[in-house]
């Protein structure tokens, strides 16, 4: 087969575009519908998180972390407080650990639901999106019941959490899980096994395992490529080592290993695992106080720490450096979406514009976290 080469055309996808998942501009070189190169332009949402952090106290950084990954703010908080506690070498009460894991896993479900729903929207299916938002809404209601906020919680504090769980939270949460688990099958029937959906995602945008590791792709995207790596299992933080759960990896379910469908499918399976963790945590949660007695001004010892945690998008790392004063010397956030976006150019070459949208959606990026 001969290949007819046409003239290159530059297509600007974004900064305002329905499926850039935020304010992102992709400069796409196309030959007809075929994409030959993508240059992402970032920074439209740059809010100087790291510079700000150097000018506030350690506690005041936490609201900023909320606003980075605004779809999984609990997990952003979680990563920061875990890193801080490691830096200060303190241990929090057991109940706090349980509460944090419950919140983190609930937020993981919420974040994955949004990712999967929006992915359906990128492919052109509108209905699954609203089904998933409907269920995500119930999780947000639970968060609101717990800490008063629906999106940006500022819930986890260094050494504790801001509020204890409401009295009947366990009951509500179990009720939600009982309702929610059968829904997963409904999503699968509606979207996952749809022939058109499979055609659009299987074999598209394959990220081989070595490329994924080299690009620092983590989380469901890396596991979609078949690498069994989950910080919760491999470098356990908090009390994740107490829970029984599997780490789902992609298996080329309908196509090649590491294609868009695998990344989607891993997220779907992860929701089930999160439900598993939640059930165990809700069963074993002990009583007690949720506040570690800490001085009002936290002064960690001199030194630095790099701690990564498993946010819904992958390895969320915080590099925190202290010089002994109440303000951090340096806070660096290693964001999983940032690394995931960097692989876009490599995997999208040779695919069509529609596939670029599909690949971008399957990477599940949040621009707040990329630009920080």
């Amino acid at each position: 087969m001969g290949v007819v080469k046409g003239d290159q055309m530059i297509l600007n996808i974004g900064p305002q575009h329905p499926s850039t998942h935020g304010v992102l501009r992709l400069e796409v070189m196309t030959d007809g519908e075929i994409v030959s190169e993508i240059r992402p332009h970032l920074g439209y949402l740059h809010r100087c998180f790291e510079k700000h952090s150097e000018n506030v106290t350690y506690e005041q950084v936490i609201p900023f972390t909320d606003r980075c990954d605004y779809l999984a703010a609990m997990n952003s908080n979680f990563g920061y407080v875990v890193a801080m506690e490691e830096l200060m070498e303190i241990k929090v009460p057991e109940r706090v650990d349980y509460i944090r894991i419950i919140m983190g896993e609930l937020n993981r479900i919420a974040s994955h639901l949004l990712a999967l729903g929006v992915y359906g929207l990128d492919i052109g299916a509108f209905t699954p999106f609203l089904y998933m938002l409907r269920d995500r809404e119930r999780i947000l209601d639970m968060f609101e019941y717990t800490c008063g906020a629906r999106l940006l919680y500022n819930y986890m504090w260094v050494g504790g959490v801001s509020h204890d769980l409401p009295k009947d939270f366990e009951k509500i949460c179990i009720g939600f899980l009982d309702y929610f688990e059968p829904q997963i099958e409904e999503y699968n029937n509606l979207l996952t096994y749809n022939k058109i959906f499979v055609e659009r995602t299987a074999d598209v945008g394959v990220i081989p395992a070595d490329v994924a590791v080299s690009y620092g792709v983590t989380g469901p995207n890396l596991r979609g490529s078949g690498v069994k790596w989950d910080v919760r299992k491999d470098e356990p933080y908090s009390i994740y080592d107490r829970f029984e759960f599997d780490v789902p990896v992609g298996d080329g379910h309908f196509g090649t290993l590491g294609d868009c469908f695998d990344r989607y499918w891993v997220r779907m399976l992860e929701i089930k695992e999160s439900v598993k963790i939640l059930r165990q945590a809700l069963k074993d949660i002990p009583g007690g106080d949720v506040h570690q007695m800490l001085p009002k001004k936290i002064r960690p010892p001199k030194g630095s720490v790099y701690r990564r945690t498993e946010s819904p998008r992958g390895d969320l790392g915080y590099y925190i450096m202290s010089d002994g004063t109440p303000t951090p010397y340096r806070v660096k956030m290693r964001s999983p979406a940032f690394t995931a976006l960097s692989v876009l150019d490599e995997v999208s070459r040779g695919w069509m514009i529609s596939d670029v949208i599909a690949i971008l959606g399957s990477l599940d990026i949040v621009l707040g976290e990329i630009d920080r």
Binding site: L11, I123, I196, I353, S354, I357
Partner: protein
């Protein structure tokens, strides 16, 4: 209520040919336009409600007297229409202004002309052509020119992509649609829609109505190929790649707003009506009653035709709110490598069937 009938009637009154011609055209054309507008208004409301019920929401709703969109959101389309009419009509600075303004009219004309030949009942048809089936297919292709014109004139890359995709899609899917609609023509031996519907009177296999779709296995397959191709021709999901809001923003309609956009909208729904009307007339017995010999007098014809039409339009909406979107090459693959061979085989099969059984 064809133009010819009106002309004959005027001729009995007096001899004023020019006036009677103009009157006949206006009398039959204005209701046609009203049908088109009414169809769009109803379809917008139905589409909102159907999508809402499929998505587990309630859709447009009124919250009390004088609030929001009236009872059950019935005023929603009125609000939509008012909004579209008073919205600012923007024309991009760098666009080709003449073509930009002309494109909506050409698309509108295509849809309007098609509607003229839809046989709503045995008498309610604006123009009863000898070659009605073929005529509808033909005027459908005028819209393509308008779409390409709109895409080009907008001077926007998204529009251009959308226009090219749309044109490629429509002229490709015209082939399986055309090949499939040949089958009713073969069965009935006529291209006149009324004669074709009359052919579908009576019973087949004892119980089923004698609709062409039930006539033999090949016609059964042909109906589905025709209907799916028709959905593709109207650019609706899962074949809405020319608009593809998550990829191409809004495709060839990106730069249009206000009333010009409303014209596109009107035409899209009118096109749905036309292709569904053709499917009903060609395969589903037109205005014939599903129980042969019963309920087939007077206004029942209109009722049956509209019921079948509305059912098909509902199925199109059902598609839209359930399916994801195909990719452009998969779309072409389905058309050229699946539908066209099957459609050709169907023609062959129907020919053999007619030789043996008919």
């Amino acid at each position: 209520m064809t133009v010819d009938m009106l002309m004959d009637w005027f001729a009995t009154i007096g001899d004023f040919p020019i006036l009677s011609f103009l009157l006949a055209v206006v009398i039959s054309g204005v209701p046609l336009f009203l049908v088109m507008a009414l169809n769009a208004m109803v379809a917008v409301y139905v589409e909102r409600k159907v999508s809402a019920f499929m998505m587990d929401r309630i859709g447009p709703m009124g919250q009390g007297p004088g609030l929001h969109a009236g009872k059950w959101g019935l005023l929603q389309t009125a609000a939509d229409a008012v909004k579209l009419l008073v919205k600012e009509d923007t024309i991009p600075e760098t666009s080709d202004k003449l073509l930009f303004k002309m494109a909506p009219f050409i698309i509108f004309i295509g849809a309007f002309l098609g509607l003229a030949a839809v046989p709503f009942s045995s008498v309610l048809q604006v123009a009863d052509f000898n070659v009605g089936v073929f005529y509808i297919i033909a005027v459908g292709s005028i819209g393509v020119i308008g779409i390409v014109m709109a895409g080009w004139a907008s001077n926007n890359k998204w529009s251009l992509y959308g226009a090219m995709r749309s044109a490629a899609q429509i002229i490709s899917y015209e082939i399986p649609a055309g090949l499939s609609i040949i089958i009713p023509i073969m069965m009935a031996g006529t291209m006149n829609l009324q004669e074709m519907i009359h052919f579908q009177e009576g019973n087949v296999w004892g119980i089923l109505p004698n609709w062409i779709i039930f006539n033999n296995p090949f016609t059964f397959i042909a109906f589905f190929i025709f209907f799916i191709s028709a959905v593709a021709e109207t650019n609706r999901t899962p074949f809405d790649i020319p608009e593809a809001e998550s990829e191409l923003v809004a495709g060839w309609m990106t730069e249009y707003s206000g009333f010009r956009w409303a014209v596109f909208f009107l035409s899209e729904y009118a096109n749905m009506l036309v292709v569904s009307g053709l499917a009903v007339a060609g395969f589903l017995g037109g205005w014939q009653s599903p129980i042969p010999g019963m309920f087939d007098t007077g206004a029942w014809g209109l009722f049956w035709f509209m019921s079948k039409l509305i059912f098909l339009i509902f199925v199109m909406m059902w598609f839209r709110w359930t399916f994801p979107r195909l990719r452009v090459d998969q779309l072409m693959h389905v058309c050229w490598k699946v539908f066209i061979p099957i459609a050709m085989f169907n023609i062959f099969g129907v020919g053999i069937w007619k030789l043996i059984f008919g």
